[in-house]
Amino acid sequence: MTTTTPSLTFGPVLFNWKPEAWRDFYFRVADEAPVDTVYIGETICSKRAPFFVTLFDEVRDRLVAAGKTVVFSTLSETVLKIDRNLVESICAMEGAEIEANDASALYYLRGRPHRIGPLFNAYNEETLRALAAKGAHHVCAPVELPGTSLATLCASAREANVTVEAQVFGRQGLALSARCYHARAHGRTKDSCQFVCENDADGLDLTTLEGKPVLAINGIQTMSYDYLNLIAEVPALAAMGVSALRLSPHSCDMVKVAKMFRGVLDGAIEVAEASRTLDGLNLSAPYSNGFFHGKPGYSLQRAAD
């Protein structure tokens, strides 16, 4: 069986970065990062969105001029009127490719080509077929889906003319809530948050009573403390037919991260060498890859040969 080399993507920035930092990140991505597709948009909190929406045009233009495919990601949890308005306005963007992260986006997108994001539950071949029948042509798998199921999903995706993406780098979104845990940590509520989440570019770490850091808070989202790193699993992902590998943006040198994954995909850099470079990023937390191997998500397993 011949396999095509997977493409490389940047998922949407999940954190509340300063608007200028957010824009400059994408300008640098346009100029330097060897990724094919870039997802942009606010997926966590509609209160943050106004700061970024005004920058969409210049960021998109710069990325497109650099040859990147640009996809707009929708909000993951839609409850309030402002959430609903945000989803509706993103889905109404003329000529834009959209990644749906909840069913209210699907309400608007069904019947025309669109993508399914990792925050929408697409766990199996029947779900994939049902979504494809309504226009989904690309699905990013949920972070907790084990590699064995991912392989089965890829096989049925080929029959349905759907391509499959999987996250390979960055903190993993583990849960969503209506309550803002960033606001709660500061004695505030979601309505009175004063955007305290902007102080934590990679999330706010939570540590157990015996001093072990385990989770990270990002507004209404709870994330893994550790960073997913599937560099050693890249050959296995390519062999099972995963079409795109997603790097989830952090404040570390993401261009270097992209270059390592690109190098391994192209056969220009050995996995061991890329791993050493990624180990040298000086992240605040260790790497993990448990979910892919069907083990506790926080664990680090040796890649199968």
Binding site: A103, Y123, N124, T148, L153, S156, D191, G290
Partner: protein
């Protein structure tokens, strides 16, 4: 259909049935309908010793039918690719046994049910996390969903607002565990234990839970090696789940409940408001609970609903004793400041 001189319709009381004995207890205590699951990963309470064999389910339907009660089957987890047949079998079983409805969350499972058994009544599980009118309409229009179980994240005012904008019935939780995370969108248990709430139907599996007592009477609770909380000898320890644990973070001097304290949802005082908001069915959580607990809670709520319908005063003090650590909450339902 009975109505009072005011504006609301008599709501159905939907009660948990973890075992055949629990099912009988709930129906005897006045449940209009019970919900249960099969003994496998197809439902979100896949615990050892809980749930129904096909034979038990067959008998349960007969028992309920004879007493004018309905049986709903929760098939509300997310099949991982390659294992879908187990969920197909569950839908087939529900259709064959003539269950009143199936409660589903996964798009693939909903599509299979709608395609294979167009006459089978489909309810959208809380696990689907449909929290906006558009999301609910999507499921109604694509899969013929007749009722949505709303996430426990909405205020009563918001529920009333949703009611006006959707073509299906609303079922909402009124008592039991408060899920802090959006249901169906939480991988915390899998992250720590390797068992997935969405795919295996287990949150905080008992096999991974540890209680450690030290000489001074301090009790430490753990899940899969991660410390969840620590209790003094005079405190009552809650069952350890990650979202009810105590943590520290930068900028906070004391450990705190980062997500929520162990509380029980009790909406008894909001019942008339919920009924006025257009809620068709009131749901009690707790298939994992004892028969005695189910009997007590269902009886109290049966009386409360009947009292409201008859225009009588409601007294629900007896329920407070059943709540975890005797602390109760109205969760998100009362006010948006909960968020």
């Amino acid at each position: 259909m009975t109505t009072t001189p005011s504006t609301f319709t008599r709501p159905e009381l939907i009660c948990p049935a973890g075992t055949p004995a629990g099912l009988r207890a709930a129906i005897e205590a006045g449940a209009d309908a019970v919900y249960c699951g099969l003994q496998n990963a197809t439902n979100a309470r896949n615990f050892p010793g809980l749930n129904f064999s096909v034979k038990e389910l067959t008998e349960a339907v007969a028992y309920a039918n004879a007493r004018n009660a309905k049986v709903l089957l929760a098939i509300n987890t997310f099949p991982p690719a390659g294992k879908f047949d187990l969920w197909k079998d569950a839908i087939d079983t529900a259709a064959r046994l003539g269950l009143h409805a199936v409660i589903v969350a996964d798009i693939g499972v909903a599509a299979y049910a709608a395609r294979t058994y167009p006459e089978l009544r489909v309810h959208l599980s809380v696990q689907a996390g449909a929290s906006s009118p558009e999301a609910i309409r999507y499921y109604c229009e694509e899969f013929g969903v007749k009722r949505v179980v709303l996430p426990r994240i909405l205020t009563v005012t918001e529920i009333a607002d949703i009611h006006r904008q959707i073509p299906c019935e609303i079922e909402t939780f009124i008592f039991g565990n408060i899920g802090m995370m959006a249901e169906g969108r939480c991988s915390l248990t899998n992250y720590i234990t390797g068992i997935s709430t969405n795919m295996d139907g287990v949150c905080s599996p008992a096999a991974d839970v540890r209680y450690e007592e030290t000489a001074d009477g301090t009790l430490t609770t753990r899940l899969g090696g991660v410390m969840i909380d620590r209790f003094g000898c005079n405190e009552s320890a809650g069952y350890p789940t990650i979202c009810k644990g105590r943590y520290t973070c930068a900028g906070k001097s004391e450990p705190y409940y980062a997500f929520e304290e162990p509380l029980t949802l009790n909406l008894s005082s909001l019942l008339p408001d919920l009924m006025r908001a257009g809620v068709t069915a009131l749901k009690i959580e707790g298939r994992q609970r004892s028969r005695a607990y189910v009997k007590a809670v269902v009886s109290a709520y049966r009386k409360a609903v009947d009292d409201i319908m008859a225009g009588r005063e409601v007294a629900l003090d007896s329920l407070i004793a059943l709540t975890e650590g005797s602390k109760e909450s109205q969760g998100a339902f009362r006010s948006k400041t909960w968020r």
